[in-house]
Amino acid sequence: MADILTFNVLEHSLVPEHYLLTDEEADQVLSKLRITRDQLPKIRRTDPGIKVLENIYGPIDEGKLVKIVRKSETAEEFVVYRLVIRG
């Protein structure tokens, strides 16, 4: 899969920053938000952003958390967490 990636989408100016969270970080986020994994918004494993991360970190399993920092019209910068699911 890695070889077919000719362009790193994360470098595009319109694509927000994606960060893979470690399990400890993920647990911290979840406890801070006082939620369980199933209450998070989702992102598919086939998402181009996840594919780029997989290029760096190796395969990303379902259940991992991704932190996405994107530019916001109202709040300048906004952080969202997404749960990686199959697909």
Binding site: L33, T36, D38, L40, P41, E62, A75, F78, R86, G87
Partner: protein
């Protein structure tokens, strides 16, 4: 009465019903297609069998022994002579046939693949996947299975299954038919263990149940027959369809039993399939809909549920209500913006329940004693229509029994008192596009037959008085009233959440009135001043100015009376000419508004100050002094402005568009020049000397140039006309102050209408190479392509008129297209967002409690409380802290509040209104 225990529904599960269960729950088997005998009694084992429930009052159900309304009705059943496919499951059946072996019935997956599915499904459950995700997974698994050419279990070769819409399956390259019986046999062969990966729970459903062997017959209460005035019975569409099914079922059975040729049996079988299919869904594609004798298509099961008129949208999502009223609306500027005038006749019908307690029992006794229709006198007396006893019994109060009922009134009774002044009601106008379409008002009982309200509330409802009707709902509980008061009251909705600005404010005459009250600071003698002020509550007058021994009050003094005493503001008014160098206080047009300590020092009050969607003063008072103070300000302002305009008198007429002879000559001259200029352009185009613009063809260049020249012609005409129409002209005052109309409207009336366009281009279609037969073929000149040199006032010549109609038609078509599209878009958007809510931790969640947005609007700011969409108004903070020094810092080149949004939205709403009657949601493939 609210009794019993309420519990939360944990989950709902839908499943298929087995033929055994259909037979088990059946009250009777239905075998005859006849409904009633000659004497009009229902036939036993017919479709109207008395075991199926009662529809005639007085009779008792033969199954449960209850009467109408008590008996819910009971299902019957029809034993089908041959199995028939259920159309509703056709896709699932196809999927099942494709992904299982045609010989052994096992799923076409290896044990590992089945296990992989199980794990994926469990993982999904754990990570919050919903039923839709599960369905997608199942679909994927099925697809994997169906792509296998050979069964991994019995090594049988698989054949391709084709679905011949709507209900016929074909197999293999020769495409031989699979009868429903064969289909059912195959489904029967699928073992329970293989069902889970295929998305079926074997504990509640077996796939062969999707091929019907017994048909449930709904109770008669579901398909009641109607007795017409003539005494004839008219049966429900479902009954008609069931008769068809029964009849063919009977024939099929007879033929089969008699050993009729295979061909005949198959034909009948297919006919039975058709009838059962249309019984479920009469709009199945691929087959003609079953029709009534009159040619009207029958309304069968699916049609009862689907679409706007279906059970879901019209009976479950929307319901008809009591305690509501609807009538024509009319204006009343003397009402407060949060009031609504309710006609006496309506107030006598609408009631509010009042619980009797020791504090109000005496008062309620006097009310009850008055009965339902107290005499109309000077004062409107509130009556009582019903008294509800503690045991829940309703007593209708009449003039006769009023006294006795009043005496018998006890604690814990409930009195349904008529509507009275001060009651809180909801007031609404369709289409309810935003939350301001339904607001809480307090009641004022008035004579007359219409609902009345303050004109400032027209914009949020998008109402006018050309025959509009509105609805009113009386709140029935204290919680509802409290909620409505706090959240829905008109004054709480002055600032629109769409843009951080006021949506309620002065319109039309109020603005003109404010202009005449304050522009160039007119003087009013005591008579005039007091006449104007007499409309207001008591105000302490400020000291008058004295000129030649006479006392005068200035307009600005009068306006200052309604401002909060410590109010500060600086801005430019609508009439501002946008000079290069602002002279501020010395503005010769009196358009620099400065308010200090609640005194209007200079400037004209107009739309920029108090108008809806722009009003700076409104905006600031609402923010700094609260909703109650703005309400008071708007109310007083309305009266003051109307006092001012009535003192002066105001009217506009066609002579407001009169311009001097030399001006019209000048316009005509300029138009002629422009036309000639276009002719010259055309000439150079023909000769090929026209210089081509980059990226455009020669022809396009010509069009652009011509448009430019002709656009200039209209502007010039407008400018010339505008020069002769000064501020003494009523129409100009309205346009400039922002009350109504624009200078463009005026220049089209007085100057020239200008070039007409369709799709942004000069008119070109109609005849071959020309717009009308009055012109030469290929004429590219101004007149031939839709230039209107006349003004609306001077009148259009026939060709111009035709061109103008062409341009106008485009607008109408756009409107029609936009309405249906935006209506459907709105519906989908609302459906997507309707169950989202803001939780205490600032996140937006849906009903499943999953997070949709980590922080409301990403910044957690309520747009209704923003200043033009920004959380903090720095200018305002500076002004407050620095006082006069802040003036230097103030950026008067302010972005106008929500003006663009407001007009845009209004246009959209107007389109929708115009189309209201014929409004139909386009069907883009169902829900």
């Amino acid at each position: 009465m609210m009794k019993g225990v309420s519990k939360r529904i944990g989950s709902i599960k839908f499943s298929c019903v087995s033929p055994e269960e259909i037979r088990k729950m059946s009250a009777t088997k239905v075998i005859t297609a006849d409904t009633y005998d000659d004497d009009g009694f229902p036939i036993d084992m017919g479709l109207m069998d008395p075991h199926l429930g009662v529809i005639e009052p007085g009779l008792r159900c033969k199954t449960c022994g209850h009467k109408v309304d008590e008996c819910p009705g009971h299902f019957g059943h029809i034993d089908l002579a041959m199995p028939v496919i259920h159309v509703g499951f056709i896709k699932d059946i196809k999927r099942l046939l494709e992904s299982t072996c045609r010989i052994c019935g096992r799923i076409l997956l290896t044990a590992e693949q089945i296990e992989a599915h199980r794990i994926a499904s469990e993982r999904m459950e754990e990570l919050g996947g919903d039923t839709i995700d599960q369905k997608l997974l199942t679909k994927e698994t099925s697809k994997d299975a169906s792509s296998k050419p050979i069964c991994p279990h019995c090594s049988a070769e698989q054949m391709k299954i084709k679905l011949d819409k709507p209900t016929t399956f074909r197999e293999g390259d020769d495409g031989h038919k699979l009868t429903p019986k064969e289909v059912r046999e195959r489904l029967e062969r699928i073992p329970d263990e293989d069902l889970l990966p295929l998305g079926i729970d074997p504990q509640t459903c077996r796939p062969e149940w999707m091929v019907l062997t017994a048909l449930a017959v709904p109770p008669v209460t579901v398909r009641p027959s109607i007795t017409l005035d003539s005494g004839d019975r008219s049966e429900d569409d479902l009954t008609h369809k069931l008769v068809d099914v029964l009849r063919i079922n009977q024939r099929l059975r007879e033929n089969r039993d008699a050993g009729a040729p295979q061909l005949i049996v198959e034909d009948l079988w297919e006919l039975l399939q058709y009838h059962v299919t249309t019984y479920f869904d009469n709009q199945t594609s691929g087959i003609p809909p079953a029709r009534h004798r009159s040619g009207r298509p029958l309304k069968t099961l699916v049609q009862r549920l689907k679409g706007k008129e279906g059970r879901f949208r019209s009976n479950l999502s929307g319901k008809r209500v009591n305690f509501s009223a609807r009538t024509v609306i009319s204006p009343d500027p003397l009402l407060s913006i949060n009031e609504v005038g309710v006609p006496i006749t309506a107030a006598r019908e609408l009631t509010v329940p009042v619980h009797v307690n020791e504090h109000n029992i005496d008062f309620l006794r006097t009310l009850v004693a008055r009965g339902p229709s107290p005499p109309e006198g000077e004062e409107h007396l509130v009556g009582v229509n019903y008294v509800i006893r503690s045991d829940g019994r309703r007593i209708r109060v009449t003039d006769r029994n009023a006294e006795t009922v009043a005496e018998g009134l006890e604690l814990d009774y409930t009195v349904e008192r008529q509507l009275m002044d001060g009651d809180v009601v909801l007031f609404n106008r369709q289409p309810s596009l935003h939350r301001m379409s339904m607001m809480a008002h307090t009641v004022r009982i008035m004579p007359g037959k219409t609902f009345r309200f303050n004109l400032c509330v027209c914009p949020p409802y998008n109402a006018d008085f050309d025959g509009d009707e509105m609805n009113l709902h009386v709140l029935q509980s204290d919680e509802a009233r409290a909620e409505a008061r706090i959240l829905m009251a008109v004054q709480e909705n002055i600032l629109s959440p769409r843009y951080g600005g006021p949506i309620i404010g002065a319109i039309h005459d109020h603005v003109t009135g404010a202009y005449y009250l304050t522009h160039d600071n007119p003087k009013f003698d005591s008579m005039q001043a007091l006449t104007i002020l007499s409309k207001l509550e008591h105000k302490t007058l400020v000291d008058p100015i004295e000129i030649d021994g006479e006392k005068y009050w200035t307009g600005k003094q009068l306006f200052s009376l309604v401002l909060p005493p410590d109010f500060q503001a600086i801005f430019k008014s609508s009439i501002c000419q946008n000079c290069d160098q602002c002279k501020k206080e010395d503005c010769e047009f009196d358009s620099y508004v400065k308010i200090k300590d609640g005194k209007l020092l200079c400037g004209t009050i107009d739309a920029k100050a108090i108008g809806n969607s722009k009003g700076k003063i409104l905006d600031k008072i609402a923010r700094d002094y609260g909703s109650e103070r703005v309400r008071q300000f708007i109310d007083e302002c309305t009266r003051l402005c109307l006092g001012a305009i009535m003192n002066r008198g105001f009217s506009t007429g066609i002579d407001d568009e009169d311009i001097p002879e030399e001006a019209s000559l000048q316009i005509r001259e300029f138009n002629k020049e422009s036309v000639e200029k276009v002719d010259k352009l055309v000439e150079s185009y023909r000769e090929g000397t026209l210089e081509q613009m980059p990226g455009r063809s020669l022809r396009e260049t010509l069009e652009v140039e011509a448009m430019k020249v002709l656009g200039k012609a209209r502007d010039e005409a407008g400018r010339v006309a505008g020069k002769h129409l000064g501020m003494e002209n009523s129409a100009v005052v309205m346009a400039k102050s922002g009350a109504r109309g624009s200078m463009l409207n005026l220049s089209q009336m007085a100057g020239a209408v200008g070039q007409q366009a369709v799709r942004g281009e000069r008119l070109s279609r109609g005849y071959w190479n020309r717009t009308l037969p009055h012109f030469k073929k290929g004429d590219l000149g101004a007149e031939a392509k839709g230039f209107v040199a006349n003004s609306y006032k001077s009148g259009l010549n026939p060709t111009e008129f035709f061109f103008h109609s062409m341009g106008g038609r485009e607008g109408l078509v756009d409107t029609a297209v936009r309405t249906s599209r935006s209506g459907y878009m709105q519906r989908r958007l609302i459906s997507a967002l309707e169950d989202l809510k803001l939780t205490a931790d600032g996140t937006i969640r849906n009903t499943a409690d999953t997070i949709v947005q980590f922080r409301y609007g990403e910044d957690g700011v309520d747009p209704a409380r923003t200043v033009q969409g920004k959380a903090i108004d720095l200018d305002d903070v500076f002004a407050e802290v620095l006082g006069d020094d802040a003036e230097l810092l103030l950026q008067l080149e302010e972005a106008s509040i929500g003006e663009d949004y407001a007009t845009l939205e209004k246009d959209e709403m107007e389109f929708i209104e115009e189309e209201e009657v014929s409004f139909e949601e386009p069907d883009f493939g169902g829900e």
